[in-house]
């Protein structure tokens, strides 16, 4: 019973954040998605009230795990744009295959460089700390 009430609180939180986000975007005429503002609102609530994490998790874990099902109506709409895709197939293939591979390598290489410099810094400061002891 407690699980159900926790899930209910989680549901109220998520839907309240979602509609607040839509409301804020409409009222302020923001050029960003309302759901994204809702996400930031929910994130803020979780930081202010960390105890609500379990309530939110109780409600969102299942939909997050099976999110793929929700994309089906949108993916099927692709058949409407099939002619556009077919006419630009080479460009799309290059844009997805080549640039994804390059971006993956470049991002990892750059992150590795930055993380290595942090590890060097941490090992250097712990060495200095030991010397001071």
């Amino acid at each position: 019973m407690r699980d159900v009430s926790k899930a209910l609180v989680g549901a109220i939180l998520v839907f309240a954040a979602y509609y607040l986000g839509l409301f804020a975007v409409n009222i302020m005429a923001l050029p960003i998605p309302g759901a994204l503002v809702g996400l930031l609102i929910l994130l803020g609530i979780l930081f202010i009230f960390p105890k609500l994490e379990t309530h939110t998790a109780r409600f969102v874990t299942l939909p997050l795990k099976h999110m793929s099902l929700l994309f089906v109506p949108a993916v099927l709409a692709l058949s409407i744009y099939w002619v556009d895709i077919y006419e630009n197939l080479l460009a799309i293939t290059i844009a997805i295959f080549v640039t994804t591979s390059l971006s993956l390598g470049f991002t990892a290489w750059f992150a590795q460089k930055l993380f290595c410099s942090k590890q060097h810094k941490e090992s250097h400061s712990s060495q200095v700390g030991r010397e001071l002891e």
Binding site: A17, I32, L39, L46, L70, I80, I92, T100, S101
Partner: protein, 236 residues
């Protein structure tokens, strides 16, 4: 919302929701049988199953979209629910600080810009170029963002999923080619460039890689979905 619920409780709505769920369950079974290989992503087989059902029953995609409007509407609240994984990764984000943010933002800029230039060089239509800008973020955010910048949300969903599958398949080869031995860096790149499908791949590589991939996925999703409409509204 009211329209989506009304449709869901109509006979047509119930039938097509059931077909979608059955298709998804079959797709999950196939995915398990293939050991979670990226090509066997559940969306691929669910879409094929529903498409075949539509073809056999002589139903149009537009009719299906109306009947299964509840599924599409739920994308909004599920996008909000992404706040939970971000909240849970906050400690790691604090530990790596600006280094992590800079890596993710750089990956979040390089991936869409290079894809945009590839389409630009090959003279693709503007709507396709705009849609491609959201290819590296998680599907619900990509669909929301493309709707705001003159792209095509349906196409965004397909580009995002294809990007994820490609990223997950080439990751091992690319990391060895670029001599990437740092597991955290591998995780960040997978989550940032190949979003949720890359994150699923990172789970097989280890918990530490998966934690970083989740961060890449979440931070890049927010960054791109915020930046794209803002930049678009400023310059276009």
């Amino acid at each position: 919302m009211i329209n989506a619920i009304t449709q869901a409780f109509s006979v047509n709505g119930l039938i097509w929701l059931c077909v979608s769920v059955v298709g998804y369950l079959i797709a999950l079974w196939i995915n398990r049988k293939c050991n979670g290989h990226p090509i066997a992503h559940p969306i691929v087989f669910t879409a094929i199953f529903v498409f075949l059902s539509l073809y056999l029953s002589n139903t149009s995609v537009v009719d299906y979209q109306q009947a299964a409007a509840l599924l599409h509407w739920l994308l909004g609240p599920v996008t909000v629910a992404l706040a939970l994984p971000i909240y849970r990764q906050w400690q790691i984000l604090k530990r790596y600080g600006w280094r992590l943010i800079v890596s993710i933002v750089l990956g979040g800029i390089v991936a869409p810009i290079t894809a945009w230039f590839a389409l630009f060089a090959l003279d693709a239509p503007a709507a396709l170029k705009m849609t491609m800008l959201a290819k590296s973020i998680t599907t619900p955010l990509a669909m929301e963002a493309t709707a705001h910048i003159g792209g095509i949300p349906a196409m965004a969903a397909v580009f995002v999923i294809t990007t994820g599958i490609v990223g997950a398949i080439v990751a091992t080869g690319v990391f060895s080619l670029f001599k990437i031995e740092d597991r955290q860096a591998q995780g960040i790149a997978l989550g940032t460039v190949a979003h949720a499908i890359g994150t699923a791949k990172s789970i097989h590589m280890g918990e530490d890689v998966a934690a970083m991939a989740t961060l890449g996925l979440c931070v890049n999703g927010i960054f791109t979905a915020l930046a794209l409409p803002l930049v678009f509204s400023l310059f276009v």
